[in-house]
Amino acid sequence: MKEEALVRPLSGFRPWLIVGTLVTGAIAGLLFFSWGYQIKNDIGVAGINRPVFWGFYITNFVFWIGISHAGTLISAILRVTSAEWRRPVTRCAEAITVFALSIGGLFPLIHLGRPWLFWFMIPLPNHRGLWPNFRSPLVWDMMAIGTYLTGSVLYLLLPLLPDMAILRDRALAETPQSPRARLFRLLAMGWRGTTQQWHSLEAGIKVMAVVIIPVAVSVHTIVSWDFSMTLQPMWHSTIFGPYFVVGAIYSGIAVLMLAMYLLRRGLGLQEYLSDKVFNNLGLLFVSFTIIWAYFTFAEHLTVWYGSEPSEMAVFWERVSGEYAPIFWGMIVVNVVIPLGVLPFPWGRKPLATAIVGLGVLVGMWIERFLIVVGTLRMPHLDFTVGTYQPSWVEMGVLVGSFGMFAMLYFLFVQFAPIVSIWEVREGDHIASSVPASAQSVGDEA
């Protein structure tokens, strides 16, 4: 079978996948251990205080929600524009969305301190007469993230059905009684590949791609409104919505480049996640570097030009104060290095894009931290200037969240083909149907 590399992780015993799952699972355990410690000993074990009442947890929340823009949004845009090179990329991107969003959604619960009271946000009549305040951006958050998570999970699962049917048919022919054959039979849900089924599935994927794009944009816009709806310095900005969306897509592309590189190396997918795919995504990456740099410049220029004292206090703290080293570090990894590497063809090779992607991930986390903590440390009145030092509990939750993301990814590649088999086959079929002369024109385009 031509797609042997795609199904290899799904068949048989793969020790390094098991080891990877266990190691990342142990790191993920750090999240639950730290969280459990916090639940037992109360929220005071975290470093958050007055006036820095949002710290690592909300930074992580914004960061992970941003990462989630890697998948569904990028995949939907590429589907809507019928970009042929999208085929090997879509599923690994969509999986990133689902896992990052699930992890991001945990952070408000962790930050809540008493997570068992989370249901007060849900509009259910209760004995205390509490009701969600629909005017609050925090309630909008819940609605938006709930919609995006539901849509992203379904958008990942719907195109998985034909692949599960392929795996089911292979497994039933080879080892009909094996647990994997039973599992794939269950997951394929009886997909047969009839004309009507394909017609309906294609219509469904197209509609979902169109619907999911504005939802994805709305999610990070609403997350930005958590900040910009307040009158805090350097939060109350009209461009915060698009600034957050651009930053989210930027960090999303960064994690996608990194994940694709690791999948390519680890699973031997060079044939599918080819240099051409990295080159095309690299061009998108460099575009978003420029757009993000533009937004960051515009945001800081407006504050500096306005010269409003409370805003300038946050501005100078960031540019030449205590946070200057990490601010300028962020500029280096988010702007200087990407613009020094990605515009060149050698810089859009897999390893180079992965290294740049790793740097951008760090830079985007710093950006979220500076937005959250930088402003809260320097509120309007001088006498309330605060300090913030994350505790080991917050560090543990942060590290554990990365472990959890990696663990979920390790598990996913053992149960589903990380590159869509049917979409790649369809691409091959289209390529073989198009005359060679037209193909070369298409490639140039």
């Binding site: 609605m143 049917a165 849900m189 590949g193």
Partner: protein, 171 residues
């Protein structure tokens, strides 16, 4: 007394061969409803029984779901805000800009759920248990399966170019 129908399933490697088999079946007078095409990639516009019209109500149902979801979210916010009025310091109890945010999310959620439900309904899914059909392993390998109900006097010449065939009896 139950009657059985005999179906001949044939696997083709090339879409062109499958399409010529379908044309042969049409010439033999086999009705489009008595033919089934299965493939591992979408070939709706390339390999399709002659005279068969495939329809999908997915776009329509997505719009309907969006309207339903948007209306439900709007009513949830407005009616419950009026039922549980919070102190707003003279601001409106139901401010339309903030209601709009929740309504939009409800609209999108309704459209998404209705889209997926319609796809499942039209595909007759989920259909758990049992094999999907004969020659499945050929389908998994990339072949196109054409199946036709056998009728009196019909020839099986349409399956001449098939790489594998299988007769299947259905109640």
């Amino acid at each position: 007394m139950s009657q059985t129908a005999t179906w001949l399933h044939a696997a083709f490697d090339l879409p062109a061969d499958a399409q010529s088999a379908l044309e042969q079946l049409a010439e033999d007078g086999v009705a489009a409803n008595d033919i089934e095409v299965r493939s591992s990639i979408p070939l709706v516009h390339e390999v399709c029984p002659v005279g068969l019209e495939v329809h999908s109500r997915v776009p329509l149902m997505a719009v309907a779901g969006g309207l339903l979801g948007g209306t439900a979210a709007f009513l949830l916010v407005t009616l419950t805000s009026l039922a549980y009025p919070l102190p707003t310091g003279g601001m409106p109890i139901v401010p339309l800009p903030t209601v709009g945010v929740v309504t939009f999310e409800g609209l999108a959620l309704g459209a998404i759920l209705c889209t997926v439900a319609t796809v499942f309904y039209e595909c007759r899914l989920p259909r758990l248990g049992g094999r999907a059909g004969p020659l499945d392993h050929h389908l998994a390998a990339g072949s196109i399966i054409v199946a036709a109900k056998s009728t009196d006097g019909a020839s099986e010449a349409w399956a001449a170019k098939a790489t594998a065939t299988e007769v299947h009896e259905v109640l």
